[in-house]
Symmetry: D2
Subunit: 382 residues, 4 copies
């Protein structure tokens, strides 16, 4: 396999190991983690099976603990590290009508303070990235002043950014819609880019693959943000219609292939590229740990296929405007089954050849099903 | 005003008076109804203000009571009647993977039995319509057998339909996506139409204005279903992106105008047309009772505008292929401000000229805010 | 390979061998066919390379000749047969405001007569299917009477249908939008289904894979129409946004896989299934003959992958509501590279192992580039 | 009326007076202009009827003449001025695979030179704006190198920009798709913004209201670009599905209202705002001159409604998070019929009270129908 594959690392979200659902229903599942420690243990199992998931992202306050240093040590003992810190300004009653953009200065300050608290957590966990995703927006035309909200957003972000340490970064996620239905305050990459450009060099864009209008060419945005030096991180998942948060690559594996091709093309898998690949999914009905393993494998497999593209031949065909020829070279890589080679690649690294089967046979699920009885299963906490 | 406006009646959903939200958060609001009786009282207030909302739809089991005859009497005393009965097969753990389409015959039977129970409720409340909306569907390709699910759906619906009384109807709602993300079992009007046609004359289609793919011409479907004699009812709401369940007419008042024009064109507002106009909205952040009043008024105002279309002149322009002329006749009606005449129309009927202001000045909201303390606010109950 | 693969036949459209373009520009290409005979010769070359494309669909009046029997003989000599006859009621000035739905009875009769002429052509060519795709629709609300147009459409279709011979069929294609922008008269499968059901048993639906709203689950429609016994034919192509008419499978190969899986599931590849697989593509910038070969191969390859699904294991996983297990079985087939086996399958049948290379090496393109000088290249003729 | 309405000016596109169509057919219409002079005469008639359309945009090479100074004088004599110069790099065979982004340096230079020629035209006509819309893009994944194309685009734009005079501007238009179907090189406002920011202060973004993905909140982009100081101009039209180029406001008048509200809110109608409002529409089936009059009136009427918003009350309601109250203030303006006041406003300015009727009664159409016989009707020239 292409040696660049060795640079592949995929960060797992702690919340993928808790319950999630739709507005209609959140179903529970036996064995679901009840504490952040149990989530980390589950994430560590994904890493043990795949060797590709060395970090776990936290969500504050869902994963609040008294002692983050102890939590880091706990993670380290389980073979993983703590990663990105995700803020949450959408589940407190005060944020019903906005957070960093709220008309009420007190609410804005509360939301800013929450982010400063997150930075303190980062200082303790050694996390690099503060990820800011905002539910801010409006449901009705006229409800908010679009322009004024942007100005307040810029002011709030600047107040947070000045506390970002020299080894830290802020990544600003955009989202087309939901939960706000008429207008979100950071709806597209252009808005996120305009804000992070104004903030400074350690502010970057976070691209969630499920946060675009229908038909949007996501790999174009990947290429553009890499070109502009502002692609900070991915939230990987897949979707058919809205922000479905399905297993990455499940809805359109060819799209994931194209995205990973542009990541490679733009240097996003180079050592120290600064591009963090993260999952952000919700396992509403599927088994959670296998769901994460499947997701990690999908990213791996599509990356491996993307690395098979004969880029010299492709460049020559592109140069010659050979439409079908260039496409054929591109598709040849996508159509190649890389799974046997990847099994060998894993074996060489001391990993299970077949992570899904290895997990099934590990007995881990039975163990946690038996152990995790009583208490409250983790969830989005809404 | 056109006398056909006197036929306008809009059914209110009991759940609009409880809390709802997104998967991210359900916010509470002071004064929110805690019982079905309180919901009915709120709905009755909407009718008192508008004179247009004489019926309240119930959702089973959210609105389950021991004595439906007593509940009917309660409603009647408040000036309204009980309307459509909505079944619910999406919030029981057994339905995690489907209800009427489930592979497990026992789960299917449970879902069928739930509908038979709903018919019993109808027998007690005197309701005409059983509305069936299914959350059934799958999230991943391969998860379910699309064809087999259709066959099971047909079988289950037939088992229910045979219990529908001679004065009753089943209306089958379709929905493009959500909560299932890859495939829903009744995704479009064609599927609903195929099923109700197979069932019999008392099976009809329910059209929810928020349940279509982007860009779908909804008024075309209205016209087509009226032509085919299968438009049973509407679930009115509005949307920008997904099934936003916003106030009807809020996102695109011109679309509501076009829909009401086709309803009138196809006889849907004629006496005994059999077309039930119902709201199905979720007031996540807006005041609930005013939200329903606003919704009723939007339907009224757009219907009144639609009734202003000079249909003789329009027909002549259409006959002559006069594109701009026909469009101008159509738009002239839409652009006319009917609110003054409607205020007078209300006054003549002993109703408040300005229902929104009348409600605000009624003191009702303060009363319920003070009275409804303690207990659990109604919600979707997920 | 699965023996059902031997039933695979893909009909080619004559117009794929002429020029096409967008509203912005139609580019010419050396060697483009100038006559229907040259188009047939090109199509025959696709069949010679692939063994899968034994029929050529004609478009009237683009492919009008004096002697259809002679044209059939010409095709037969080249190793192919004439197939579906496509009517055209969108390029005559009389049809500016509609054809079968026009308010002017004389225009409607002209359009009906055109279809009767097409049936006469079918009688001479021995074609089974008359394909009706209509550009009818309106650009502005109010421009046409939606309901009246449906009634006229039904009447016109009935007038045509009564001339369809006992061995012939009418297939009615639907299209979401374009060239009409506000409303098309046959926008969705439901409308097509309602009309063909009213006509009779030899009226069927034609599903063009590019004619749906964003996010539509096409394989669901395939499954549904097969279940209802009304899937007459496919127009294969692919799209990213609108009716892009790109090479089938190019935009989303996984979607094509899912579609072919449902075709097989529903018996559409069984002998005498009555489901015609046809290409309907426009090669605006790509080489035309290789483009058709590539398209045929894409259908073949995705069908071969779909046939690899372990349907027993899949049914068991579906029965057990094993979401990830069922999906994995499905994906395993999609991820398998079938190209080596297909090369062998071709070799066994005396076909080139690599049709794309075989064509490139055949010298055919150079020959036609040299021969086809002067005259007017075929195009849509708009 | 609000005095800011006096600042309203709407530029007309010369090509709206020629024929246009879809890829299926371009229909002719009696009286269609055959020369740029006739187009200008038609545009002048629109201005005479409305008083709002003092400028005519040219498209090069469609409107190429030997003597632009003479053309300016001709326009001036007819009561209008020449406006924006639109380049065209999509109808020459050399541009089949791109223009400013082409892999072939010679083609890129040809495209650059075309723009330099356009600047020369501007120097002669006194036009301020060079509008660059590119058809560049690809139809198939792999066909082009997304990143390389961006770099070549940046280089080409810089080569053009350095010739933009101190009183001139370059406006870069973005478009979601079409004619390229997989990827366009300037697909969204973010890309256009990134390029114009890199170029300099006289480079601006052009927003075409039909060039967005489904569901995009266009007024948000308007507000954002005004905030960033980069909204150079509008191309107004309307759409239901794709880039339908219908009469502005026809598909969704409420959207046009919201857009104009944000234009006003952001100072875009202030004197010397630098925001050019232009129409860019195609009258495929509708009468051309009345179509332009209707378009101008739609912009006027929605602007007048937007100016009715009680902004103090709105700000107070927004400040108080009064969702329904703020929305009601907003909608009250939209629902108000401004046509009588606008008729009076026109009368006071010596204009026809009813421009549509005035045009119909003017005899102009009959005159040109009779006069413009023979010759070739203007069209896109594809």
């Amino acid at each position: 396999m292409n040696p660049i594959l060795d640079n592949l690392e995929i960060e797992l979200p702690s919340w993928a190991f808790g319950n999630s659902g739709t507005r209609f229903k959140v179903f529970g599942t036996p064995g679901t983690a009840r504490t952040v420690q149990e989530k980390i243990a589950d994430a560590a199992m994904v890493h043990k099976m795949t060797g590709l998931a060395p970090r776990v992202a936290l969500h504050i306050p869902w994963d609040t603990v008294d002692d983050y240093a102890a939590l880091s040590a706990y993670a380290h003992e389980h073979g993983v590290e703590l990663g990105t810190i995700n803020s949450n300004t959408f589940q407190d009653d005060d944020y019903k009508f906005g957070s960093l953009t709220h008309t009420d200065k007190a609410v804005r300050q509360k939301a800013i303070d929450h982010h400063l608290h997150c930075i303190e957590v980062m200082n303790e966990t050694g996390s690099r990235d503060l990820k800011v995703w905002l539910a801010d927006g409006t449901n009705y035309p006229g409800q908010g002043d679009i322009r004024g909200r942007q100005d307040r957003l810029a002011e709030s972000l600047a107040a947070i950014y000045q506390h970002i340490g020299p080894q830290q970064r802020m990544v600003l996620e955009y989202k087309f819609f939901e939960p706000a239905m008429y207008m979100t305050d950071v709806p597209d990459w252009g808005t996120s880019y305009a804000h992070v450009s104004a903030l400074g060099e350690r502010a970057m864009v976070c691209l969630d693959t499920g946060h675009h209008a229908p038909g949007t060419n996501i790999e174009f945005i990947v290429a553009q943000l890499l070109r502009l030096g502002r692609l900070g991180s991915f939230d990987f998942n897949s979707r058919f219609y809205a922000d479905d948060d399905l297993i990455v690559g499940a809805a359109d594996p060819f799209q994931l292939f194209r995205i990973m091709f542009e990541v490679v093309r733009g240097g996003g898998l180079d050592a120290n590229s600064g591009v963090a690949l993260m999952l952000d999914q919700c396992h509403n009905i599927e088994a959670k740990i296998p769901g994460q393993i499947r997701s990690v494998l999908n990213v791996l497999e599509m990356t491996a296929r993307a690395l098979l593209v004969d880029t010299d031949a492709l460049a020559a065909a592109q140069e010659a405007s050979d439409v079908l020829g260039a496409n054929a070279i591109f598709m040849d890589a996508f159509y190649t089954d890389v799974r046997p080679q990847l099994a060998q690649w894993r074996t060489e690294r001391g990993l299970p050849a077949d992570p899904m089967t290895a997990f099934a046979e590990s007995g881990y699920q039975d163990t946690i099903n038996a152990a995790r009885v009583g208490g409250t299963q983790s969830s989005w906490g809404a």
